[in-house]
């Protein structure tokens, strides 16, 4: 026990002069990056927490201490409640469909076929295209008068649909566009995971008589679980932070009705940068942070408990054998 606790100290004492200098050099090289990261990323988070307890004005974010008043006001604000509901709806559907489609595409592209790389590129292209031009293009596609989508639908006798102008369709339209944008990223992650599964596992299953679906359900999917967790967490975080596409698609006289697709970050943006209610917007950001944190921890928790169950099942199986 004693040996264990003194081991690091002994190792430090045992460092050669060259090793010590190397470490000093390494730390001094990392320090500016750490300092800049702390200043531009970590400090603002703490500042945001601080501002959320204050009434603010332009140039004076700490004008008057309010305690929890900003938070209590939030839950009386119909626009915040609406934003919360819309964002949750958006995140749920975007995460669900982007994961489902990504898994399907990854499975289809995982077997070596001719043109596989081409299709991977095609599906990944939306990911690397910046969101603003993509949102503008989709706004044109959804245009009720001259939009490509309505034009194609007209071949089948469908009357023009105001995709972005009606609350019933506006959110669905933005979800479709967002799934299209993110699915390539999720697909690549799953593809890496699938290609990492040893071929011998799949072969063994096939020799045992498993069909394609059974191989997928019993071998591929369980082995993809850590990747699945990563994709779910990233997709949920990204979906809760949705802003650009909502902002672009609601602008202009033919834009989507603001409240029908109002999301939390959009509401934060309006309060902070249009109305300069910085403290109130900071409180919204804190709530968003807590929601994402809770969801992420839940996802980790679910995945962890599954793994624990799996391990104990295997243990029991081993013992009985």
């Amino acid at each position: 026990m004693k040996t264990k606790s003194t081991a690091p100290a002994a190792r430090r004492r045992g460092l050669s002069e060259i090793e010590r200098k190397k470490r000093i050099f390494a730390y001094s090289m990392i320090a500016p990056v750490i300092l800049i990261f702390g200043f531009v990323r970590i400090l603002p988070i703490f500042q945001n927490f601080l501002y959320s307890f204050f009434h603010s004005s332009i140039g004076n974010p700490l004008e008057k201490f309010l305690g929890l008043a900003n938070f209590t006001d939030l839950f009386k604000d119909h626009l915040f409640i609406l934003s919360l509901r819309n964002t949750t709806f958006f995140a749920l559907f975007v995460t669900f469909f982007s994961v489902i489609f990504a898994v399907l595409l990854a499975v289809m592209l995982s077997s070596p076929t001719r043109g596989g790389a081409f299709y991977e590129t095609v599906y990944f292209l939306p990911v690397i295209t910046p969101m603003v031009p993509v949102a503008v293009v989709w706004k044109w596609i959804y245009d009720p008068t001259y939009g490509l989508l309505n034009y194609i639908l007209s071949w089948f006798g469908v009357a023009p649909v105001g995709w972005l102008v009606f609350p019933d369709t506006a959110m669905i339209a933005i979800i479709i566009m967002s799934v299209w944008k993110i699915v390539g990223y999720n697909m690549i992650i799953f593809l890496v995971g699938i290609r990492d599964i040893p071929e011998s596992y799949l072969e063994a299953a096939r020799i045992d008589g498993a069909n394609t679906l059974q191989v997928f359900r019993r071998i591929t999917l369980p082995l993809l679980r850590p990747i699945m967790l990563f994709v779910l967490v990233i997709s949920t975080i990204n979906s809760y932070n949705v802003f650009t596409q909502v902002f672009i698609m609601t602008s202009g006289p033919q834009g989507a009705p603001g409240n029908a697709v109002r999301t939390i970050v959009f509401d934060i943006y309006e309060n902070a940068f249009r109305y300069f209610r910085t403290g109130y917007a900071a409180a919204e950001a804190v709530v968003l942070f807590l929601i994402i944190l809770a969801l992420t921890l839940t996802q980790f928790g679910i995945s962890g408990s599954r793994e624990r169950r799996e391990r104990s099942r295997l243990k029991r199986k081993g013992a009985s054998a």
């Binding site: 004005s57 332009i58 140039g59 626009l79 009720p144 008068t145 009357a159 023009p160 649909v161 105001g162 102008v165 009606f166 609350p167 902002f247 609601t250 602008s251 202009g252 006289p253 033919q254 834009g255 989507a256 009705p257 603001g258 409240n259 029908a260 309006e270 940068f273 249009r274 109305y275 300069f276």
Partner: protein, 435 residues
């Protein structure tokens, strides 16, 4: 090794120093003015003014940037508090008022003040609506006055000889002018109303109908400088009913068809309300379109919105005297005329003779014409105006879509009352509320 690194470091420092020294000596005597504007069509004017100014001051360079209005407002929000904004900004009082109240915009110098306050130079309305605590911070530049644009070919085809004179007449004309395809889809709106979109624009356009009907967005309280919602009345309810009936009852406008200037230029609407810039824009985009303009029709009263656009010199200006000099240059007689003739925005100055341009382009007439009882109204110069107008716009957008409001006076009254309650709450929170 250390010695070699040291030598390289010193050499780099010396080189950098030489570069900076060289740069500053080269830049000696040169001045650069940056100008930002929220109206892309104004870029031509700024370039023209800059070229003319450079003839008189060859040492001055210009950096002119224009953005669509909403993006421009966002840019101001980020750059004015951080003092990284341009030297000169071209912005309306409603977007800039919050910065003026917070002390971010400097007052104009005495020389500029005496130019602005010269008798007959600007209307009393322009002075009043651009003052904060009795002081003007920006030089009125151009004005967004509203008039009715109407397509004369479509009017003739519908057997209408002239523009509508009343709101009721405008409604009937719109019914006659709307066109549908065999399936009943609207292919041409009778009157393009602003039914959707971001920001306060929807509320502003609704105001065009609201004001003649006897309502307004904010009404001054008993104590000067305090306000309350001015639309929780018959005017507000009738104005909302006008829109709801247009979309859900008589269906001469809908959400799916194109709107605004684009619709007018494409022949997808017969009439709409807008500012004079549409004349310049249409000359470029639809030169063969036959149209005229008219005063806004009357109802319980008669009037048009006038939104003054000002030129402000910011605290970020490195040479404020030069910036103010260029501002005064931009509002001289020749440049004010050039702006109307080439861009279409109506000059804010009252003492510039525009007769020759109006004779050549008679569509401008409705923007300068007036009548004894034709009122001017506009944005109230208080910080929270943008927020309360945007909140009202969001409620209106939802109401315009709500088919259950057709033939439903109680529903309309509730929408108006709830919106007014929110307006009053924002005023109370900002200490501007007064009965």
């Amino acid at each position: 090794m250390v010695k070699r690194v040291g030598i390289v470091f010193v050499a780099l420092m010396v080189l950098t120093g030489m570069l900076f020294a060289g740069g500053s000596s080269e830049a000696k005597g040169k001045e650069t003015l940056s100008v930002w504007c929220g109206y892309p069509e104004m870029e031509a004017f700024y370039k023209h003014a800059a070229e003319e100014y450079k003839k008189l001051h060859p040492n001055v360079e210009f950096n002119i940037v224009t953005h669509p209005l909403r993006e421009f407002e966002q840019k101001l929000s980020a750059t004015i508090p951080s003092n990284t904004v341009a030297d000169i900004i071209d912005v309306s009082v409603y977007a800039n008022q919050k910065f003026i109240e917070a002390g971010f915009i400097p007052r104009m110098p005495e020389k500029v003040g005496s130019f602005v306050n010269a008798p007959g130079r600007y209307s009393d309305f322009a002075r009043k609506n651009n003052s904060y605590k009795g002081v003007m911070y920006g030089v009125p530049f151009f004005q967004g006055r509203t008039a009715l644009f109407y397509n004369t070919d479509m009017f003739a085809e519908a057997g209408l000889s002239g523009p509508p004179k009343t709101m009721a007449e405008m409604y009937e004309y719109a019914k006659k002018l709307a066109r549908r395809d065999g399936a009943g889809n609207l292919t041409r709106s009778g009157h393009s109303l602003r039914l959707s979109g971001q920001g306060s624009g929807v509320a502003e356009k609704w105001w065009f109908v609201l004001y003649p009907m006897g309502g307004t967005i904010l009404k001054e309280g008993k104590t000067p400088g305090t306000y309350h919602a001015g639309y929780n009345n018959d005017g507000g309810r009738n104005a909302l009913k006008y829109y709801v009936d247009a979309v859900h009852k008589d269906k001469w406008d809908d959400h799916k068809i194109k709107h605004d200037a684009e619709a007018f230029q494409l022949g997808l609407t017969a009439m709409f309300f807008r500012e004079s810039w549409v004349i310049g824009d249409t000359a470029k985009k639809a030169p063969n379109l036959k149209f005229k303009t008219a005063l806004v029709p009357r109802d319980a009263r008669w009037g048009r919105i006038t939104n003054i656009q000002n030129l402000y010199v910011t605290k970020a200006a490195k040479n404020p005297d030069l910036a103010w000099d260029f501002v005064l240059f931009m509002v001289n007689d020749a440049n004010q005329k050039w702006m109307l003739d080439n861009v279409g925005w109506l000059p804010a100055r009252m003492d510039v003779d525009l007769k020759e341009i109006i004779a050549r382009k008679p569509q401008f007439e409705a923007f300068v014409a007036t009548a004894p009882d034709y009122e001017e109204f506009g944005y109230i110069p208080i910080g929270p105006f943008d927020e309360l107008a945007t909140r009202l716009a969001e409620r209106l957008v939802a109401a315009f879509m709500d088919a259950s409001l057709a033939n439903n006076p109680a529903g309309i009254a509730k929408v108006i009352a709830d919106a007014a309650e929110e307006t009053n709450q924002i005023l109370k929170r900002s200490n501007f509320y007064g009965e």
